[in-house]
């Protein structure tokens, strides 16, 4: 286990050290102490290492992640795991706005609540939230899965494309062109796998599925250039 103390190591050095880990590194376990709400912790990693942040972070934690497994023993500020490509990010506490925004792949697990715009413009990432998500979540979501074990706020899935949204609790309102959809066996199977990966004890049958009605302007081929 390698420990980096942010009280004595600069953010730039911390990220440079983690980013320098090669695919076949022997130093696979890292611990970051004294994060004290700092921004941009453990961003741009590209190695199959495990990083644990001991405390809460600020903006953009674990952004652009590839391969790494990053766990935060606390809450995170806005933009956690933004534009993640692969790997896993686990938040023990809550996440602020636009968690997992634009993520292309990998898995983001939030054990508390996520606030507004969770999964905005997601492009293939799987996001599993144990608690609630705020308003405008999955806005313009293009691909991937958003699982919400609690409730969703206003305008869920506004202008959504092909992403799948699964919500166990209430949905305050659906956004434009987002509708409830049938839960077919393949969705139950998909959700069962997501719940297991997310460490949720919820049953897939308790969820409703939401997705695109494909009625907006951009879905009409006659409007193509």
């Amino acid at each position: 286990m390698q420990t980096i103390d942010m009280a004595t190591t600069s953010l730039r050095d911390l990220n440079a050290t983690l980013q320098a880990q090669a695919e076949a590194t022997n130093q696979t376990a890292w611990e970051i102490v004294n994060p004290k709400g700092s921004h941009a912790i453990a961003v741009g990693l590209d190695a199959p290492i495990e990083v644990t942040v001991k405390g809460s972070t600020g903006y953009y934690c674990a952004g652009m992640n590839k391969q790494a497994t990053i766990t935060v023993n606390g809450s995170v500020g806005p933009g956690v795991a933004e534009n993640m490509m692969s790997g896993t990010v686990i938040i023990d506490g809550d996440a602020s706005q636009y968690a997992g925004a634009t993520g292309h792949g990998g898995t983001l697990i939030i054990k508390g609540n996520a606030s507004s715009r969770c999964g905005i413009s997601m492009k293939g990432i799987d996001i599993i939230v144990h608690g609630n998500v705020g308003h405008m979540s999955a806005f313009m979501a293009q691909s991937g899965n958003l699982v919400v074990c609690g409730d969703a706020g206003d305008a869920l899935g506004d202008s959504i494309y092909e992403a799948r949204l699964f919500v166990r609790g209430s949905v305050k309102s659906l956004g434009a062109d987002c509708i409830e959809k049938e839960m077919r066996p393949e969705h139950i199977a998909l959700l069962a796998d997501l719940l297991e990966r997310g460490g949720c004890d919820a049953k897939p049958e308790e969820f409703k599925r939401y997705g695109s009605a494909r009625q907006l302007y951009n879905f009409n081929i006659d409007n193509a250039y």
Partner: protein
């Protein structure tokens, strides 16, 4: 961008440290707002006096005889305590309105930063750490306070463009965001006879709250109606004699984090601002909901009153 901090003490033993705790929080928010800083601090409630905090860019000249001149004009003794470009005038309780009018005749160039029974507002252009040092904010004690670090977008970097803005007796406002309908609203409020001094958007927000309360609204009602009448982005923190309130616009893109323990309720634009507070590791930390008015006061400690807006 801008940074906001606020601290409301439940544990009276922390009161001597209020200035020091708020100063640390304010300085941590420097990179959200390096061009100006300000703080409103609520101190002892002396039943015999009220306070006017005034400012001048030429304090040596303007403050030299202010104590006696204002005392003579008012016909009551006035005590002046100078801090850098600011001075706190102690006025006999009940004569605040008369004192403001008298000040206008004694020296109309002196600016009023705040008026009330317990509030003092200090704000200037410069890095938060420098502003804090000029006014020796660390040494101040009090029951609660709010502060602001400014990154100007809507108006000039001036003392009068810095926050907090006094909205009424013992009330003040700090703002993170930008209002987009402030020009039209300023004209409307000016027609209503509300005094607005600068081109600043937040001053219009503050004047709006003042106007609504003059029309009979409570502060809570004024904040709720602000959700309909103000266009743009805002996270507001409002100081009152008893405590503070928080409201965010419905989009809520301007950040806000709150923490509560048995000893205090704290507000920060970012969690970073809160990390030095005692017992923060075990505090309840959460993000205030959009379009929801929250209040903490010494009358209703520890139960935030949420009102659907």
């Amino acid at each position: 961008m801008c940074g906001i901090v606020g601290l409301f003490l439940k544990d009276r033993s922390l009161e001597p440290q209020l200035g020091s705790m708020l100063t640390d929080m304010l300085i941590t928010m420097t990179d959200r707002g390096p061009d100006s800083a300000g703080i409103a601090i609520y101190g002892d409630d002396n039943p015999n006096i009220s306070k006017l905090t005034v400012q001048s860019d030429t304090p040596d000249q303007y403050f030299a005889t202010l104590e006696t001149d204002l005392g003579t004009a008012l016909g009551s003794p006035v005590h002046l305590r100078r801090k850098d470009t600011h001075a706190v005038l102690h006025i006999p309780r009940g004569q605040l309105t008369a004192a403001r009018a008298a000040l206008g005749t004694v020296n109309p160039n002196i600016r009023v930063m705040s008026s009330g029974d317990t509030v003092e507002i200090y704000k200037e252009v410069g890095l938060p750490k420098d502003v804090a040092a000029r006014f020796d904010l660390r040494s101040m004690s009090g029951t609660h306070g709010i502060g602001h670090t400014r990154m100007a977008t809507e108006s000039m970097v001036t003392t009068m463009g810095a926050h907090p803005f006094n909205t009424g007796p013992d009330q003040c406002l700090v703002h993170n965001g930008s209002l987009s309908n402030h020009n039209r609203l300023r004209r409307k409020l000016q027609r209503e006879g509300i005094h607005i001094e600068t081109e600043n958007d937040t001053e219009v927000g503050a004047a709006y709250l003042t106007w609504r309360m003059q029309k009979g609204a409570t502060l809570g009602e004024a904040l709720e109606s602000s959700l309909n009448d103000l266009d743009g982005f805002f996270t507001f923190l409002v100081g009152t004699k008893d405590g503070f309130g928080v409201v965010r616009d419905p989009i809520a893109c301007k950040p806000a984090v709150m923490a509560e323990t048995d000893q205090y309720v704290a507000f920060g634009s970012e969690y970073r601002a809160l990390v030095s507070l005692p017992g923060i590791e075990d505090a309840r930390v959460w993000e205030p909901e959009p379009a929801t008015v929250y209040f903490w006061s010494h009358d209703h400690t520890s139960t935030p009153t949420e009102k659907a807006a």
